[in-house]
Amino acid sequence: MLEQLTLGRYIPGHSWLHRLDPRAKLVLACYFIVIAFLTTNWLTYVLMFAFIGGVIFLTGLSFSYFVRGIGPLIWLIVFTAILQLLFTPGGHIYWHWGILMITSTGIQTSTAVFLRFLLIITMATVLTLTTAPLAIADGVEALLRPLRVIHFPVAQTALMLSVALRFVPTLLDEAQTIMNAQRARGVEFNNGGLIKRLRAIVPLLIPLFVGAIGRADDLATAMESRGYQGATNRTRYRVLKWHNADTIAVVVILVLNVVLVVLRHM
């Protein structure tokens, strides 16, 4: 149960994609998601799926990781696509019953929704599989940096993010220990109806929260004793470096964008 809660599913590796700068990966993944909406005809879909196929190949990871990454969301996509299919009016009507109908426009939009979602989720999976959570945090910080102008506490936010990520395994361990301790006292976590199960969570959550607050207090003391005075005049140990590979990746995605726009009008 707890394994599924783990943030991200980073698989360490040394592929070209693993080594890309997290800033580049974040921006490019977002860019890809936006241009996924430019798809119109089958040529554009072929292009996008060929591209994402190439990206998957470049990760050097087994295809099963991606299937597992998309797995939990596939039902959501199918559900959304079915809604689109049944409620979109327009074009030739093949079938209708009350307010439900299947139309030619409906088939088109639901197919588009299904394929675009698939593209987006696959790209997001590529990002989390090839980028360590810490690197994502670094990337987010770098991208938020311009917000300093409006006095947004970028450095504090980044530290908060990195401390939160660092404590995920610690708190999962603690949750496991508490669950075992409560099981030994007769609490059943996996039996009974929904209400009963939710109730069983309470004796897990309360000690977990109390423990987490105690840890936060200890951590604050430790940070203070090590001279942490907020973000003023700090230097950074971890620095992101922009390589040629990152520039190449940007060029590749821009070319993809141009080709996509050309294919749209064919």
């Binding site: 810490l134 945090a137 990195s162 401390v163 990520l165 660092r166 395994p169 610690t170 361990d173 105690g214 840890r215 200890d218 951590l219 003391t221 430790a222 940070m223 203070e224 004793s225 090590r226 001279g227 942490y228 005075q229 005049n233 700090r234 230097t235 950074r236 140990y237 971890r238 620095v239």
Partner: protein
């Protein structure tokens, strides 16, 4: 000898407590000394060292560290002189990886990056953890985490290292590795003053001087040997002597005089079977 820490008439009471946790405490520590503060749980020893670092806001008494009187204005200066290692290895690990954690204090002090990289590596080598530099804390043992915490402090090169029950959550092997890092550090050029809080007397035995606390008061001080032979004091404070010390004392009563310095169980065993030849 120069005094590096002077505490004068320090008292402190937690806001919701009915009696003071620190009750008119005064003592001095010389530069380069290794002092252990012993006492059972709730005797006030943790609160005392937190007061030294300005982590609690005491109202009466004075603390002077390396010539600086502790005050709200000087607290950051004082903290530069003191490096603290706390009890729980997990709750003081700030960085996402070993190297990041060691760098945390250096980042706070605004040390330039090239200098920082050099000092992180040196500190991790000093605690024999450099090969784990990229590891996340969840993949380290308790003893390894405490050595990383020590590296974070060594990198800052403070004149005083305070260990607040830093080994109490470790297994015997982890404890030994942490203590041997300290022994090694004492012989290095850095030679910091060490102030360790512990209720493990075998650890306290390695110090040059002991301060005994009970009920918020400093009730005795002296060499480990002198304190360990004061049976009345030990009984009233509920401290339990290490087995090897008990054995040595019993042997002394039988007329067999063991070496003056503290011996661990293994060392005493070695000494006993070897000394048989020379008797």
């Amino acid at each position: 000898m120069t005094k590096i820490i002077s505490v004068d008439d320090l008292s402190y009471q937690y806001p919701d407590a009915d009696r003071p946790t620190l009750n008119h405490i005064s003592f001095e520590i010389n530069a380069g000394e290794w002092v252990a503060i012993v006492g059972h749980n709730g005797s006030g020893k943790s609160t005392l060292v937190r007061a030294l670092d300005g982590l609690i806001d005491f109202k009466s008494g004075t603390v002077t560290v390396a010539g600086t009187k502790l005050s709200p204005e000087s607290v950051w200066l004082v903290r530069e002189h003191i490096g603290m290692v706390f009890q729980n290895p997990d709750n003081q690990f700030v960085g996402a990886t070993v190297a990041d954690d060691v760098a945390f204090g250096l980042e706070n002090a605004g040390v330039p990056r090239p200098e920082m990289q050099k000092r992180v590596q040196e500190a991790l080598e000093a605690v024999d953890m450099w090969q784990f530099a990229e590891r996340e804390p969840s993949r380290l043992s308790g003893g390894q985490k405490q050595r990383v915490a020590l590296a974070g402090i060594i990198a800052m090169n403070p004149s005083i290292i305070v260990l607040d029950e830093a080994t109490s959550m470790l297994d015997p092997h982890g404890r030994q590795t942490v203590l041997s890092v300290l022994q090694h550090l004492r012989r290095s050029n850095q030679a910091p003053t060490i102030l360790s809080i512990t209720h493990d007397l075998s650890e306290a035995a390695q110090a040059q001087r002991l301060l005994v606390m009970d009920n918020g008061q400093l009730i005795s001080e002296g060499t480990p040997r002198a304190i360990f032979s004061d049976e009345q004091l030990l009984e009233s404070t509920g401290l339990d002597l290490p087995f090897s010390t008990k054995l040595s004392q019993q042997l002394a009563k039988q007329g067999l005089v063991t070496p003056k310095q503290y011996l661990t169980d293994d060392e005493l065993e070695d000494w006993l079977w070897q000394s048989h030849l020379t008797m």
